[in-house]
C-alpha cells in the first residue's frame, strides 16, 4: 500500500486530500525498469491477481494467466496490479476514512471517472519510479483502463492489450448497470447510502445486483450447458415453502449474490458502475473515436469473444477501425468461445496463445532481453 499525501484532483472538480493505493507485485523489476506490466482489474476484481485472496481464501482471479512460465510470465516481467480508485480493498474509496472528518466517505465519495481511476494508477507508477510501462493489460472494465492509458499516456505505454471491452459504455451496458443500482436503492437497509451509520448493509439489493450482472457475464449456451433445467430439493425456508424446489441456476445465482455481498461494498459498486457508464473515449473529440489515438505509438492487441453479449465483437471492431484510422499499430483477434463475457477469466487456450505471443512480439520490438530457457 502506498500513501500519497498530495492526494488526487478529480475530473468533477473535487480533490481527494489523501490518496491510498493498495497493490500487489510479482516478479522482478529489471535494472533498466523497462519490463513492468500493469494489469487492470474488472468491475468487481481486486489487486490479488495471482495470489490467494485474503478475503475469500480463493486463488487470484487471473492466477492461471499470471505467474512463472505462464502467458504473462513473472520470470520475465514485473507485474503490478492495484485496486482501483473507488474500490473497497485498500485503495481510497467510499469505505476509506476521510482525512479531515475522521469518518468514512460512504455516500459522500465524489463521482469518479475512468480518467480518474487511471490518473491514480499513473501516480502509483510514478511512485514506483517507472517511466514507461512495457504493457497495460486488462479485461472488461480493465480494458477500459488500458484504452484510457493509450489515449492519454501513449508515450508511457509500449504495448496494450484491451480484452473483452469497448471504447464506450453502450446504452445496453448502462441499462444493465441501472437495474443493479435500482436493486440496491430499493433495499430497506440502503438508508440513502449511510447504511453503516445504521449498522446495516443493503445485502439483498447488492445480492440481486450481482445476480443480474452475473447473467450478463455468461452466455445462453454456457448457462444451458452448466445448469440446463435441472431442479434440486432445497432445505425448508420461506422461499422453498412456497415453491418446494428450485432450479439449479437459481441456487447458483443466489450463491453468487450472497458471496459477493461479503466481499464488496454497495457504495463502491455504485461509484464504479457510474464511472463505467460515463466512459466514452470519443466524448471530448466530437464523437470521432480516432482522435484520442492520434499519434499513438503503442502496439495494441484488441481481443473479443464471439459469445460476449455485454461487450460484443462489433464494439471491438469499431475500436479497431478507429485505431486504424489513427494509423495505430493494432492487431485484432475474435476468439471463438461459447462462454460469454467471462471467457477472459476462464481456460481459453487461444487467449493464452494470443496474450503470450503478443507480449513476446512486443518485447522483441521493445528490445527487451530474451527470456532464459
Amino acid at each position: 500500500m502506498v500513501r500519497l499525501e498530495d492526494g488526487l484532483s478529480l475530473e468533477c472538480g473535487e480533490h481527494i486530500p489523501l490518496l491510498e493505493i493498495a497493490y500487489c507485485t510479482y516478479g522482478q523489476l529489471a535494472p533498466a525498469r523497462d519490463n513492468a506490466i500493469l494489469i487492470c482489474h474488472a468491475l468487481t476484481g481486486d489487486q490479488y491477481v495471482a495470489e490467494k485472496n485474503p478475503l475469500t481464501g480463493k486463488p487470484g482471479w487471473w492466477s492461471r494467466m499470471v505467474g512463472p512460465g505462464k502467458p504473462i510470465d513473472t520470470d520475465r516481467f514485473f507485474v503490478i496490479c492495484s485496486n482501483v480508485l473507488g474500490g473497497c480493498l485498500g485503495t481510497t474509496g467510499p469505505t476509506s476514512l476521510r482525512a479531515e472528518a475522521g469518518a468514512a466517505w460512504d455516500s459522500d465519495f465524489p463521482q469518479i471517472t475512468m480518467n480518474d481511476i487511471v490518473a491514480a494508477q499513473v501516480k502509483l507508477i510514478d511512485h514506483l519510479g517507472i517511466g514507461r510501462l512495457f504493457a497495460v493489460v486488462g479485461g472488461s472494465m480493465g480494458g477500459m483502463q488500458a484504452l484510457t492509458w493509450i489515449a492519454r499516456y501513449s508515450d508511457r505505454v509500449f504495448a496494450a492489450l484491451p480484452i473483452a471491452t469497448s471504447p464506450y459504455h453502450s446504452a445496453q451496458n448502462i441499462a444493465f448497470n441501472e437495474v443493479s443500482r435500482q436493486a440496491i436503492f430499493a433495499d430497506p437497509d440502503w438508508h440513502k447510502g449511510r447504511y453503516r451509520d445504521f449498522g446495516a448493509i443493503p445485502a439483498r439489493g447488492l445480492g440481486v445486483a450481482r445476480m443480474m450482472a452475473h447473467i450478463t457475464y455468461l452466455s445462453e449456451e454456457a448457462l444451458n450447458r452448466k445448469f440446463g433445467r435441472r431442479v434440486r430439493q432445497a432445505g425448508v425456508t420461506l422461499d422453498t415453502f412456497l415453491f418446494g424446489e428450485m432450479f439449479e441456476v437459481e441456487s447458483y445465482l443466489r450463491h453468487q449474490g450472497s458471496t459477493f455481498v461479503r466481499r464488496f461494498d454497495a457504495n463502491s459498486y455504485l461509484t464504479i458502475t457510474r464511472a463505467m457508464d460515463y466512459f466514452d473515449l470519443s466524448a471530448d473529440f466530437g464523437g470521432d473515436l480516432s482522435l484520442p489515438f492520434k499519434d499513438c505509438r503503442t502496439r495494441i492487441c484488441v481481443v473479443s469473444f464471439s459469445s460476449d453479449w455485454l461487450f460484443p465483437t462489433s464494439q471491438s471492431r469499431v475500436l479497431v477501425r478507429a485505431l486504424s484510422r489513427a494509423g495505430a499499430n493494432v492487431s485484432f483477434v475474435e476468439i471463438e468461445s461459447d462462454r460469454g463475457h467471462d471467457a477472459f477469466l476462464l481456460e481459453e487456450p487461444d487467449l493464452d496463445r494470443t496474450i503470450h505471443g503478443f507480449l513476446d512480439g512486443a518485447a522483441e520490438h521493445a528490445g527487451l532481453k530474451k527470456v532464459q530457457n
Binding site: S331, T354, E364
Partner: protein
C-alpha cells in the same frame, strides 16, 4: 516462403511501411520485418490464421479487403500487397482504388484466367475449367471475379494506374519467360504479379 512471396518481398523497399491484405499465416510480414526492417502489418479473414499470426507476435487485424481498407487514412503505407485475393473480393475495382489511396504502391498477384489450359477446357468440354490453380467447382469457388492478365492491364489503363513492373509466374512461383509480351503471358502465365502506382 512461396517463391512468388519472395518476388513480392524483392519489390519492397527496405524500411518501408507495408500492409499485407490477406496475410495468411503472416509469412510475408514476418519476413519483411526480419530481413528488411519494414513496419509490416496484415489483414486476414481467416480467424485461425489471425490468431496464429498474433500468437507469433505479428500485428494482424481480423478483417477483409472489401470493408476494412476504407478505414485507413490516405498514404498510410508505402506498399499495399494483395496476394491471390483480387479474384475473391466483392468489388475488385474499389479494392484497387482503396489500395492505391492508402498506399503509394500496390502489389497485386492473381491467378490468370486466360491460361491456355483453361481456354482449352472450356472450348473442348463446354464446362467450367478446373485446374490445380482453379481447383474448386463453379458452385463452390470463392473466386467470384476471375480475370485475365489482359483484363487487368485494361483496368489499370482505365483507372490511370502506372504499371511499374509486371511478370507472369508459374504455380510453383518460378518466373516465367513471358514477361515481355502481355499476349504470351496471358496464354502461358498461371499467375500474374503487378507493381502499380498512381499516375
Amino acid at each position: 516462403m512461396r517463391v512468388d512471396q519472395q518476388i513480392i518481398a524483392e519489390m519492397i523497399t527496405p524500411g518501408s511501411r507495408v500492409l499485407d491484405v490477406g496475410s495468411g499465416d503472416g509469412t510475408l510480414i514476418d519476413y519483411l520485418y526480419r530481413t528488411r526492417k519494414c513496419d509490416a502489418r496484415g489483414i486476414e479473414l481467416n480467424m485461425q490464421s489471425v490468431t496464429q499470426s498474433v500468437a507469433h507476435g505479428l500485428p494482424v487485424v481480423h478483417g477483409d479487403a472489401d470493408h476494412d481498407l476504407a478505414h485507413y487514412p490516405d498514404d498510410t503505407f508505402d506498399f499495399v500487397v494483395l496476394q491471390r485475393t483480387l479474384q475473391a473480393v466483392e468489388r475488385p475495382q474499389e479494392v484497387l482504388r482503396q489500395m492505391l489511396r492508402i498506399g503509394r504502391h500496390a502489389i497485386v498477384s492473381f491467378p490468370n484466367f486466360g491460361h491456355w489450359r483453361l481456354r482449352l477446357q472450356l472450348l473442348t468440354t463446354g464446362r467450367m475449367p478446373m485446374t490445380q490453380v482453379w481447383s474448386t467447382p463453379w458452385h463452390q469457388t470463392p473466386n467470384i471475379h476471375p480475370c485475365t492478365i489482359r483484363d487487368f492491364v485494361v483496368l489499370c489503363e482505365e483507372e490511370n494506374y502506372t504499371i511499374r513492373q509486371w511478370l507472369a509466374v508459374d504455380e510453383d512461383g518460378a518466373k516465367a519467360p513471358w514477361r515481355r509480351s502481355v499476349r504470351w503471358a496471358n496464354l502461358f502465365g498461371e499467375q500474374a504479379l503487378f507493381l502499380l502506382s498512381r499516375s
